[in-house]
């Protein structure tokens, strides 16, 4: 039993990239198919309502999904989360002191309004990201000192400190480039009618309902675009997304529920794709959040907060496989690291704390605490989270923890977590392709999502070194050490990575579904 538990995440992490390799680009081969038709609009069932479609202000995951259709970035990520140039012509060139980054740009590109794409446009966008009032990109580009257009096809960025994750940031929202003409016209209302470089251009948005895009004639790669448009329809209930896909109301649907996905597998009208999401789910434990995440960490006087041994006992009591089986139909990938399974920075020999209720029980009994040990578990009120919390409650009870669930509507639960009003908090992270984005802000001292208030100078130092090192092998070594230290401190018990299912009409081909879990329709087409 224990052996299987240990080997499952490792086996998955090995198998996944291999599987991805065998279908390059997540199966984008359809474009060359003789039966491909030109035209047609794909209706895509989106899992949530995006916020403003302004690259500088947008915050939601679903906005990222929508951006892929009409707004390209300097870089993109492939299946193994490696950087590939998109609007940039090559990977960034970093100077010897790691303080200057030069980015050559793609030539002959125009924005969807006909404005030429050049270094000046990139500078305007990056500067807007860094300085616009209320910009959500400020932190992501905090290391950037200046942006200069060296010539129309070259941008130079100077940094105030060495910062390796810059490339990854430019492959995310901070790398989205906006049309300077549209920016001049719309200013901070850019999001009401956004214009970028992309296979499709923004047509209209109906609040709470749908966002429409039509094929762009200005796109540099227009001959690869077969569809005449993409419509993103907001369908927040996963069961409804599956039902709409089955009934043909939509031709594509993201993030299907595992139970629905298993049923859809036998449906000939639907093809399924899946990836292991780059985010993780975890159990944050309050170890030092005494006066809010913004205040300095202190000592939390609860049994779990005081004792790393008890935190270990809690982890020992959790049967991740059983959790996965009953709550997610066994479809998620259990894991005990914050890094995506696809990440090349994962330590080669990661070992999880095994499920061992007897040992957990021994530790709890030896702790000298009054039994059962109370744990105030904060849970966002979402059905899957609630179910997971109930499973955790019953597992922990068997070894002597009295887990009391306090579920609260999502924003309230975040507010309570920031205030330090919890012993344990069931919360995940949407994930970043660079390891720094999955550690620094979440377990580093003063991190804005460091709900547990962990503050460990040795660990902080490792994170800092990891962000500054530029050599991949060296970074992996540093992160291996950092992850070991993190596991020891155990302010987050990592549980699993979600498996995301993308359902497509079997008439649809050429859809790309890479490791970041965002479906791309650039090369998609209907077949005859």
């Amino acid at each position: 039993m224990r052996l299987r538990l240990l080997s499952l995440p490792l086996a998955l992490s090995l198998a996944l990239p291999a599987a991805a390799c065998s279908t390059p680009g997540g199966g984008s081969g359809g474009a060359g198919d003789g039966t491909v038709k030109t035209g047609g609009t794909v209706v895509f069932a989106l899992s949530d309502e995006p916020d403003v479609l302004d690259p500088t202000l947008a915050n939601t995951f679903v906005a990222r999904v929508v951006f892929t259709s009409f707004c390209e970035k300097l870089y993109d990520a492939d299946d193994k989360l490696n950087l590939v140039p998109q609007l940039a012509a090559e990977l960034p060139k970093v100077s010897a002191d790691a303080l200057t980054v030069t980015i050559p740009l793609r030539k002959g590109v125009t924005f969807n309004d006909g404005t030429p794409f050049d270094a000046e446009a990139v500078k305007i966008s990056l500067d807007r990201h860094r300085t616009l009032k209320g910009s959500a990109r400020v932190k992501e580009l905090a290391a950037v000192k200046t942006v200069t257009a060296l010539d129309p096809a070259t941008v130079q960025i100077t940094l105030s400190r060495p910062f390796s994750p810059l490339g990854a940031q430019l492959a995310d929202r901070a790398g989205l480039i906006m049309s300077p003409t549209a920016l001049k016209k719309l200013g901070d209302k850019f999001g009401t009618s956004p214009v970028c470089v992309g296979p499709f251009k923004f047509e209209s948005r109906t609040s709470g309902s749908e966002i429409r895009f039509t094929k762009s004639t200005n796109y540099y790669d227009a001959d690869k675009v077969h569809l005449s448009g993409v419509t993103y329809r907001i369908v927040s209930d996963p069961n409804v997304r599956a039902a709409n896909l089955q009934s043909g109301d939509v031709q594509a649907a993201e993030r299907l529920a595992p139970t629905d996905a298993l049923q859809l597998k036998s449906n000939p009208d639907v093809t399924l794709r899946d990836i292991s999401a780059i985010g993780y789910q975890g159990l944050s434990i309050n170890v030092g959040n005494v006066a809010g995440t913004a205040a300095p960490a202190g000592r939390v006087n609860t049994p779990l907060g005081r004792s790393p041994q008890l935190r270990e006992a809690l982890e020992l009591s959790l049967d991740r496989d059983a959790m996965n089986k009953v709550v997610f139909a066994g479809q998620n990938a259990v894991d005990c690291l914050p890094l995506p399974l696809q990440s090349r920075f994962r330590p080669a020999d990661a070992k999880c704390t095994p499920y061992d209720p007897e040992r957990a029980r021994q530790i709890v009994e030896a702790s000298g605490e009054k039994l059962p040990i109370p744990v105030n578990l904060l849970v966002p009120a979402r059905p899957a989270d609630q179910k997971l919390a109930e499973v955790i409650q019953s597992m922990a009870k068997k070894v002597g923890f009295d887990v009391r669930i306090r579920q609260s509507e999502f924003v309230s639960s975040l507010a309570a977590a920031r205030a330090g009003d919890f012993d344990a908090f069931l919360i995940g992270w949407s994930g970043r392709i660079d390891p720094d984005g999955n550690l620094g802000d979440l377990v580093g001292t003063g991190g804005s999502n460091n709900f547990g208030g962990l503050s460990d100078p040795a660990f902080d130092d490792l994170i800092k070194r990891g962000a500054q090192a530029s050599d991949d092998a060296e970074r992996q070594k540093i992160y291996t050490e950092a992850l070991a230290r993190n596991a020891q401190l155990r302010s987050i018990i990592y549980l699993y990575h979600e498996r995301w299912f993308l359902g497509l009409s079997s008439k649809l081909t050429g859809v790309v579904y890479p490791g970041d879990g965002i479906a791309r329709f650039k090369t998609a087409a209907f077949t005859g």
Partner: protein, 317 residues
């Protein structure tokens, strides 16, 4: 009559004013700072401060309220903090959806409720009465979200005759629109039809046993004319019930919209509360309350028109 209308309108305005203060303060008592929600996954102090300033959330509460009232009177309901679309545009998009849903539900409620009510009153004590009364009680007792789930299970999952959910605009594809509205309207209308059925039945029974009807009967009034006569006098009851049920209908629409994923007013408001979208909550609740107040004002006036005695007493019920 004119004075009555004036007095009732004034009272309605006061209600609106008090409601606006209640909403304004209520949403600000919600935990979770809207600026924090907007600042994204990794919020920092500077961004939060900038957002707060941008949406005027840094001003003292009385100033914020004064600004809000001043803007509202200029017809400016503010900008949605989530997607930065003007609130007025959002409301104009979403309102017709809920209006359609609730109108259809009222239609269902009236059609079933009034006819079942008449049938059971006329055939009092016979099997028709028992069946209608029984169904009426059942309709009252079943939570409509459960009815919604069962309807989806039967019609969409098992029989596959109607779509499970989703919405298509009336202007976009009227046939598809109606197909998608059938289940939600039936579900929402069921509870209402039960209430209307019971009220129609008891009002009509009361009328049929009233003295003047008995007198008319003794003078040889035919049964059908007698019923028609009684029915006309029972209408005020139905009108009043409809007015009073409006609140329940709006709450019901919230749940129905959630289950059938209809982008209506209820879903808009709940989503706005959950994402601390102050301007949208304020706008949506203001419109809902105004709707409720106006409908009840009309009900009162209709009632006073039908029952002149009420005008004199000025009772607000």
């Amino acid at each position: 009559m004119g004075q009555f209308i004036l007095r009732r309108s004034l009272a309605s305005l006061i209600v609106l004013f008090l409601a606006s203060i209640m909403v304004f303060l209520g949403i600000r008592a919600l935990p979770g700072d809207p600026a924090l929600v907007l600042a994204g996954e990794s919020p920092d102090a500077a961004t939060i401060a900038a957002i707060r300033e941008q949406f005027g959330l840094d001003a003292p509460l009385p100033v914020q309220y004064a600004n809000y009232v001043a803007q509202t009177f200029q017809g400016n309901l503010g900008i949605s903090t989530k997607d930065r679309i003007p609130v007025a545009d959002i409301l104009v998009e979403r309102l017709p959806v809920t209006l359609e849903l609730t109108s259809l539900a009222i239609l269902v409620g009236l059609a079933i409720g009034v006819s079942a009510g008449i049938a059971s009153a006329v055939r009092r004590g016979r099997s028709t009465d028992y069946v209608a009364t029984g169904l009426g009680l059942f309709g009252l007792s079943v939570p409509h979200f459960w009815l919604g789930l069962i309807a989806i299970l039967v019609f969409a999952v098992k029989l596959r005759v109607l779509p499970a959910s989703g919405f298509v605009g009336l202007g976009e594809d009227p046939v598809e629109n109606v197909r998608r509205m059938v289940l939600p309207a039936l579900v929402l209308g069921t509870g209402l039809s039960a209430v209307i059925m019971r009220q129609t039945r008891s009002a009509l029974l009361g009328q049929l046993s009233a003295d003047y009807v008995r007198t008319a009967r003794s003078k040889g009034l035919s049964r059908s004319r007698e019923i028609r006569h009684g029915l006309r006098n029972s209408l005020t009851t139905v009108v009043t019930v409809l007015g009073l049920q409006l609140g329940a209908l709006i709450s019901g629409a919230v749940v129905t919209e959630q289950i059938f994923v209809i982008p209506g007013f209820g879903k808009l408001t709940v989503d706005a509360v959950l994402s601390r979208n102050y301007p949208v909550i304020q706008g949506a609740v203001l419109v809902t309350v105004t709707g409720y107040v106006v409908v009840n004002l009309l009900v009162d006036i209709t009632y006073a028109y039908l029952n002149p005695r009420l005008r004199l007493s000025g009772a607000s019920e």
